[in-house]
């Protein structure tokens, strides 16, 4: 007898009525799901809890007097792997250095958090805001004013 070309996948499945029990198990499973709390979050109204170490938009920290902590040493700009940070320092006679311009291109940034780690003054840190969007590229290049208060960019729906 020639070898048949039909491949029998599972012999056990050919018996009559084999599908009744799985269907009943499936019905019980879906009914259990029906009375379970849905896992969906209503996104702009509810947000998932983010980790304490979440790396979102940058924030330039200020001291008690409201002045920037940053001394424009340029370490963050040096370590930045994607060259997203530009710091232009300014130093008047007998005063501390401060950044004349501090620009972060949020489109280039990969949110690795190296700038936060390398900063000797704790002047730059990453906030938890992850859903900033805008209509053009110019708005995504952040200057000092935007970096001081990143909370305004949280998406609220």
């Amino acid at each position: 007898m020639e070898k048949s070309e039909i491949i029998v996948v599972s012999k056990g499945r050919t018996e009559k009525g084999h599908y009744v029990k799985p269907i009943l198990i499936g019905l019980a499973f879906t009914l259990k799901n029906f009375f379970t709390r849905p896992v969906t979050l209503q996104y702009p109204d509810q947000k998932t809890k983010r980790s304490e170490r979440w790396r979102g938009l940058h924030r330039l920290n200020v001291d008690e007097s409201g002045a920037l902590k940053c001394v424009a040493c340029g370490l963050c700009a040096a370590i930045c792997p994607s060259k997203a940070i530009t710091v232009i320092p300014y130093e008047a006679e007998g005063q501390t250095r401060y950044p004349e311009k501090f620009i972060i291109d949020e489109l280039r940034c990969i949110f690795c958090g190296f700038c936060q780690e390398v900063c000797p003054k704790g002047a730059i840190s990453l906030s938890k805001i992850y859903d900033y969007v805008d209509y053009n590229r110019e708005n995504c290049i952040f200057d000092i004013e935007k970096l001081k208060n990143p909370d305004q960019f949280e998406f609220k729906g």
Binding site: G26, L27, T30, L31, F34, T36, P38, V39, T40
Partner: protein, 328 residues
């Protein structure tokens, strides 16, 4: 004058309006229940828990662009949704919703008509609704639509048989074709679902197959035919097909209620409330089945009908007849 014109018109408007309201909200129920079956929430944005969603859908469908394909047979293409919806809505006329009520000393029956062939009327017009599906698929000039129409015709030939045979057993039990008489025949408290479990089983499964719902949604198998017979339909024409489908679901659920679950009968609450409770339990079971079972392969669907359902239904008719004859 009042008996022959005004009361029927008022009854027509009320029954049509209430039923259409329930049918439209069946779409909301389906989306919501399907969501919860899959651990989702379903519609939440439009109104409280998405309660205005059906209205939003209706408005959206009104303002959508109407496309008629170049290859389509235009007259039939336009006619098909109309056949579908009118054959579906006409079924609402013979469903008995409750006991006769008395308003201002006049006795008013809660159905539009009680023809002595009520069941045949429903079976006939339910099949006529399939012409909308078949013609819509065939006239759209699309291979997928054509396949969907072919499948719809094959489904209607096969599952109509077992459905009708399971109804024959009920007709024998109640001794009448009229739906109202069938409800009265279940008055002693024993519903037909207990006296005729096999007929209920066959009727329910063939009914889901007739409705073209998952797991028997052959004419609009999304994964094979990308929506099948209604693939070329847009805007309000599609909405009419959609509405016809849900009207059929509602009529099927109320038919199950009437034939097997004792119709409007029940303790304490008024009959109409009991009728809608039972109807929506059946609709919920249909949604539950949809959420659970995947679509059967086409040949398996046919095998299930011709090799299992039809013989079982015929055997049920013979056994019921023999038992009735022996008991006198």
């Amino acid at each position: 004058m009042i008996d022959y014109l005004i009361i029927p018109v008022i009854k027509f408007v009320v029954i049509f309006g209430v039923c259409l309201f329930f049918i439209v909200y069946t779409t909301w129920l389906e989306r919501k229940a399907l969501g919860h079956f899959q651990l989702r929430l379903g519609p939440m944005r439009v109104g409280y828990h998405g309660l205005l969603q059906p209205i939003a859908d209706g408005i959206k469908n009104f303002f959508k662009e109407e496309v008629i394909p170049e290859n389509a047979d235009k007259a039939v293409f336009v006619l098909a949704p109309v056949i579908s919806i009118s054959a579906a809505i006409i079924l609402l006329a013979v469903i008995p919703f409750g006991n006769p009520i008395t308003i201002f000393g006049k006795e008013i029956t809660l159905y539009l008509a009680n023809p002595s062939i009520g069941v045949l009327f429903i079976l006939g017009f339910a099949t006529l609704g399939a012409y909308g599906t078949i013609l819509g698929g065939w006239s759209s000039g699309n291979k997928y639509g054509y396949m969907g129409g072919l499948r719809a015709s094959a489904m209607i030939i096969s599952y109509e048989l077992s459905m009708a045979f399971s109804v024959i057993a009920i007709i024998m039990m109640s001794g009448s074709f009229s739906l109202v008489d069938m409800v009265h025949a279940q008055q002693e408290g024993i519903w037909n679902i207990i006296r005729q479990p096999v007929a209920f089983f066959v009727f329910f499964i063939s009914g889901i197959a007739e409705l073209n719902r998952i797991p028997f949604d052959m004419p609009e198998a999304e994964s094979e035919l990308c929506c099948g017979y209604n693939v070329e339909y847009s805007s309000m024409k599609f909405a009419l097909f959609f509405l016809a489908e849900y009207t059929h679901l509602f009529v099927f659920a109320s038919l199950v209620t009437t034939l097997f679950l004792g119709g409007w009968q029940g303790p304490i609450l008024p009959g109409v409330v009991w009728f809608f409770i039972k109807t929506f339990v059946i609709i919920f079971i249909c949604i539950w089945i949809r959420a659970t079972i995947p679509r059967l392969r086409y040949d398996k669907v046919m095998k299930l009908e011709w090799k299992f359902m039809l013989p079982v239904a015929i055997a049920n008719v013979i056994v019921t007849g023999a038992v009735l004859a022996l008991l006198g």
